[in-house]
């Protein structure tokens, strides 16, 4: 858990401070292209002489912001849909879950590519797409435990003293299902990092010249043998970021598991 939190703190720091940390402007070119590591450029430069480290830092900011916003959106919608679906039950449940099933049935990338290709590769579309893709998973993770928690005695006890259904759902059911939601959110963040960078790699991410781990990888691919750091840099960053969330999810799960009723 400590490791996960430390890694997470490092990521958040990069997102918040991004441009301040970067030694150069990410779009500033220099004649010294595809240079190896040096004191001036710790990770060398890319094909048009831009500083790789600066682009990694600023690009990470973009990638992570998209990830956070998209997952936050998916979580907000998934939470509401899952809670309503599980708690209200009946026809409402059937309708919501079948609609989500349809979304769920598409492979993540196919759906993402289709939406981005249809609506255009803007930042907003990318975020919306990823939010749509991950909403069903989160909604299901909320709905499952809600289905069982709503039958617990304390829910009936709350009802027996005149608590309204809305208050019961929010105060007596939702808090019981927080731990699986936290873990799943963390895992979704890890997956989303991959999805965002993969879409950018395919050219469906935010348009250039904004740096971005996925597009950096795509640009650097052809010069891999000349300047391996231009590939290793963003690749390592992607792995680090998703590893962070996986470690975090694991830590959360262990921490929340021991919590007694």
């Amino acid at each position: 858990m400590t490791i996960g939190l430390a890694m997470f703190a490092a990521l958040v720091l990069v997102v918040l401070l991004g441009p301040l940390l970067a030694p150069y402007s990410p779009s500033k070119t220099s004649p010294d292209s595809l240079a190896g590591p040096s004191a001036a450029h710790w990770l060398g430069t890319d094909s048009i002489g831009r500083d790789v480290l600066s682009r990694l830092i600023v690009g990470g900011r973009g990638t992570l912001l998209i990830t956070f916003v998209a997952v936050a959106l998916a979580l907000a919608v998934g939470l509401v849909l899952g809670l309503v679906s599980g708690y209200v039950g009946g026809r409402v449940d059937v309708v919501i879950m079948r609609v989500l099933d349809v979304v769920f049935a598409f492979p993540v990338f196919l759906l993402a590519i289709a939406v981005v290709a249809a609506l255009g590769p803007t930042l907003r579309n990318l975020i919306l797409t990823i939010a749509i893709v991950y909403t069903p998973t989160l909604a299901r993770v909320v709905r499952g435990p809600v289905l069982s928690v709503k039958r617990w005695d304390h829910v009936e006890a709350a009802r027996s003293v005149g608590v309204g259904e809305f208050a019961i759902a929010l105060r007596h059911v939702l808090p019981m299902v927080i731990s699986p939601i936290l873990v799943q959110t963390s895992l979704t963040l890890a997956n989303t990092i991959f999805t965002v960078t993969a879409l950018s790699f395919l050219g469906l991410g935010p348009p250039p010249p904004d740096p971005n781990w996925g597009s950096m990888l795509a640009d650097a691919r052809q010069f891999m043998e000349l300047a391996p750091l231009t590939v290793i840099g963003p690749a390592a960053a992607i792995v680090f970021a998703s590893l962070t969330f996986i470690v975090l999810a694991n830590g959360l799960r262990e921490m929340l598991d021991v919590q007694g009723r």
Binding site: R151, D153, A157, G162, V163, G164, G260
Partner: protein, 270 residues
């Protein structure tokens, strides 16, 4: 009977599972006078809990119940109220204590917060005044050091203490009728006696009527004046508890009385 707090007439409760109706309460009638303690005895599945929940208009989660008949509470038919009006009755006029104190409290809220919620909802007290009242209530039900314990979570309480907390929540708005559905079944025998004494004391002090539901004649004795015996969704026998013990008229009542372990019967007669 005029002046009754609760008059139930021809109450039926029918569960409807996947279109198949099954009637579990078959048109029963009974009365509870203000401040009176009445017992309901019967084996599990005889409909006594469903009867109790019918008065609160509560259905088990995931099932739907159809009621017919009348449940007159102070002359007002509860079955005719809309859900919103019913919510004001629950907790404020009629409250309920459940069987399993381990599961009936919200595990992630402090008991003080659960009491505060209840008080704010029904009495319009401010948060601060509600907390003062909550501490008083915990004291009333015999929680030691109530000011500190109010900030504890349910898992920090023993079963008996949790049942006391649930009773505190139930009586917090001074209801006219307290329904106790097998309040001691999940507890140790020694704790059972304490909880029953507590219920009796609160009934006297707060002047509320008590509907005590149990499968155990040992619990009924000494607690209530009148008793209804339920079997298979019907009330098969009713009357003063002493007369019923002395001369049970219905074969089922005799069978229930015989089911009480002997040593307990001997102890009561001594």
């Amino acid at each position: 009977m005029t002046g009754a707090l609760l008059e139930v007439r021809d109450l039926t409760a029918t569960f409807n599972r996947d279109g198949v109706p099954s009637q579990v309460v078959n048109g029963i009638s009974f009365d509870i006078a203000p401040g009176e303690a009445v017992g309901f005895v019967g084996e599990s599945g005889c409909g006594k809990s469903v009867t109790a929940r019918s008065i609160m208009r509560l259905a088990p989660e995931g099932s739907s119940v159809e009621w017919s008949g009348r449940i007159l509470f102070r002359g007002q038919d509860l079955l005719a109220l809309d859900e919103h009006a019913m919510r004001d009755v629950r907790g404020r006029r009629i409250a309920m204590v459940f069987q399993d104190p381990m599961a009936s409290l919200n595990p992630v809220m402090t008991i003080g917060a659960q009491l505060d919620d209840m008080l704010c909802r029904h009495t319009g007290l401010s948060r601060r005044a509600a907390r003062r009242r909550a501490v008083e209530l915990l004291d009333l039900v015999g929680i030691r050091d109530p000011a500190h314990r109010a900030d504890d979570y349910p898992h920090q309480f023993s079963g008996g203490m949790r049942q006391r907390v649930l009773i505190a929540i139930a009586v917090s708005c001074q209801p006219d009728l307290l329904i106790a559905d097998e309040p001691t079944t999940a507890l140790d025998v020694t704790v059972q006696a304490q909880i029953l004494r507590l219920l009796m004391r609160l009934r006297r002090e707060l002047g509320m009527a008590l509907m005590l539901i149990t499968h155990d004649f040992g619990v009924i004795a000494g607690m209530v004046a009148r008793v209804y015996v339920m079997h298979g969704g019907d009330i098969v026998e009713s009357g003063a508890v002493d007369a019923l013990f002395a001369a049970p008229r219905h074969a089922y009542t005799r069978a229930l009385l015989d089911a009480v372990p002997r040593i307990e019967t001997a102890g009561r007669r001594a």
